[in-house]
Amino acid sequence: MARTVYQEVTPTPAIWMIAILMGAFVAAAGVSVLYIEHNGHIVTGMNNQIVWGLPHVFAIFLIVAASGALNVASIASVFGKIENKPMARYSGLLSIALLLGGLAVLVLDLGRPDRLIIAMTQYNFKSIFAWNMLLYNGFFVIVGTYIYVQMARGMSEKVIKIVGTAAFVWRLALTTGTGSIFGWLVARSGYDAAIMAPMFIVMSFSFGLAFFILVLGSTFPLTGRFLGDNLIKRLGRLLGVFAAAVLYFTAIRHLSNLYATEHHDFERFILMGDTIFTPLFWIGQVLIGGLIPVAMLLRKAEKTTKMQVMIASILIVIGGFAQLYGIVIGGQAFPLEIFPGYDVTSAFYDGTINSYTPTIYELALGLGGVALAVLVAGVGVVALRILPMTLCDEEIDPTAPDF
């Protein structure tokens, strides 16, 4: 195998255009935040029933994808797959960028974002939220170190492996924490399930890799560097396995609920209700985000093309948003079961299915988070030697099977 040469990306007009576009999205998010903070959350679609809205869907997607984007690097350093090594730096950078984007959205949606310092200095250690603050901050440090040891001259493979393993374990803990935010909510029928944590880990594998493939597939042509077909196809097959695993966990989650009578109402609401959540589940998550991309990615390898892998990745990202929207909003839209066996009415929406209509400000905030992630990753590859000059198949691993 030839020595991999990493080089900073020289911005082309196309790259500048994208940077300006992303900057515009970030600016729009900034204006939205000021507007929401000035007027209060009354200008959003969130209310006392749906307390977490579209910003949280974006934030959680980005945070979950962040830990998943580290997959490629982990596979290289921890599991010794040499053909992934040239992409490891980029994988680390992208995971930091995505986490930064996600956390920015989460933090800027707080009722009192000006009190962030309190969240960073006062911890209630029984709260999984407080633990997540530590896990998120630690992720930046560990993955930052991981990128550093990969880039430092003369660093031994052993050190890289140790730091890479630490980053891998940390990211598992991080996604466990993210899933447990919902899994440990005992009072709500839509949550309160231990399977949330492992399901979020598998979701992170899938969404993170899909995002990585999309960014890799679009960055390389932009920079005029070559990206091998086999490389993308191989990542695509792995993505297919991950997407199938997400389907499996989803099935188990709903089957468990269907077994217990107390959860039947919730399952009826999601699986065969007349709200947005039913088509979102069957068409958005299962069909577009699951069955179609899995079929595209796991059929006979010689028939798959690079373009198909890219399309499947887009479908998985769309399905991922649908899934998180169903989990975050759908779980709150279903009324709390305070009085089992009773029909309930009140002036405070007891016993009613809650509706939520996001406003443009929430959407702008969420998209701003995505744009921030892209922008940070872009600045990273321009400023640092992150991207290899070429990722053509012969360079990476001539011995790998040709599909």
């Binding site: 307390v51 009192r112 911890y123 935010i181 066996g341 009773y342 929406y349």
Partner: protein, 252 residues
């Protein structure tokens, strides 16, 4: 937290100030024997501060609660300065009336719902900064000085007891500060309880003559509420979660 500057303040006036005096044991009798010679006798109730030997709670008799009456809601709203304006989805509601119909038997009941002041409050467990907390006497509160407005407590509360303040507010009650971007809920009228009073909702309910709400110390076996609880069947909402709510309902 250290208060170094306080040390320079040590010039306390010669006479005992009111605070130290009360701290030493609450009610006291002062007897002046002769000029310059004062005898003080301490006794009665201990300090008014939250006492771990106490647990404040409510008992609501659902049979006595009238369906069309919302005196408790109005009483709370006036006392604590929250209003239901034109936005029912975002307006705060510290207390609400719920109407229930048993799906099997068709029995209809009506009752007030508010923060249940759990012994094991999920809102306190999930709060990342510790702003959501339980006082030594069992009252669950939000410290709005450290609430960051993440709303995780609202996700965790099984009773939908909490509201998020969605708009700027003015003219708050001095004893019930509340402001945009933080979460709030029933305080069990902690400002009244600390002064030896009863919550506004209970007072309002009594004034209607329904007498459906009873307030008192659950830990004091001689209190009316403890005697009533020991004599009649009552339930806490979502008892399956074993939160041991401080608000209990009879005849539900």
């Amino acid at each position: 937290m250290k208060l170094p500057a306080l040390k320079t303040m040590a010039k306390v006036p010669d006479q005992i100030n009111r605070r130290d005096f009360l701290k030493s044991g609450g009610a006291a009798v002062t007897l002046t024997l002769a000029p310059g010679i004062t005898v003080m006798a301490f006794g009665g109730e201990a300090s008014a501060a939250a006492n771990p030997a106490t647990r404040w709670g409510l008992l609501i008799d659902v049979n006595k609660c009238a369906k069309d009456c919302d005196a408790c809601v109005t009483g709370c709203s006036v006392e604590n300065g929250w209003k239901m304006g034109g936005n029912p989805e975002t307006d705060a509601q510290w207390i609400r009336k719920v109407d229930l119909t048993n799906k099997q038997t068709g029995r209809e009941v009506s009752m007030p719902m508010m923060c249940q002041h759990c012994e094991e409050p999920p809102c306190v467990d999930v709060c990342p900064t510790g702003a959501s907390f339980k006082r030594a006497d069992g009252i669950v509160l939000v410290d709005k000085h450290t609430c960051i407005g993440c709303r995780y407590c609202m996700m965790a509360c099984p009773f939908k007891a909490r509201s998020f303040i969605h708009e700027d507010l003015e003219d708050q009650k001095s004893y019930a500060p509340r402001g945009k971007g933080t979460v709030e809920s029933c305080t069990l009228c902690v400002h009244r309880v600390d002064e030896g009073g009863i919550p506004a909702c209970v007072e309002a309910c009594d004034a209607t003559g329904h007498g459906a709400m009873m307030f008192g110390d659950l830990k004091d076996p001689t209190s009316d509420i403890a005697i009533a609880l020991a004599s009649y069947a009552s339930v806490g909402l979502r008892d399956d979660l074993r939160l041991n709510t401080g608000v209990r309902y009879s005849n539900l």
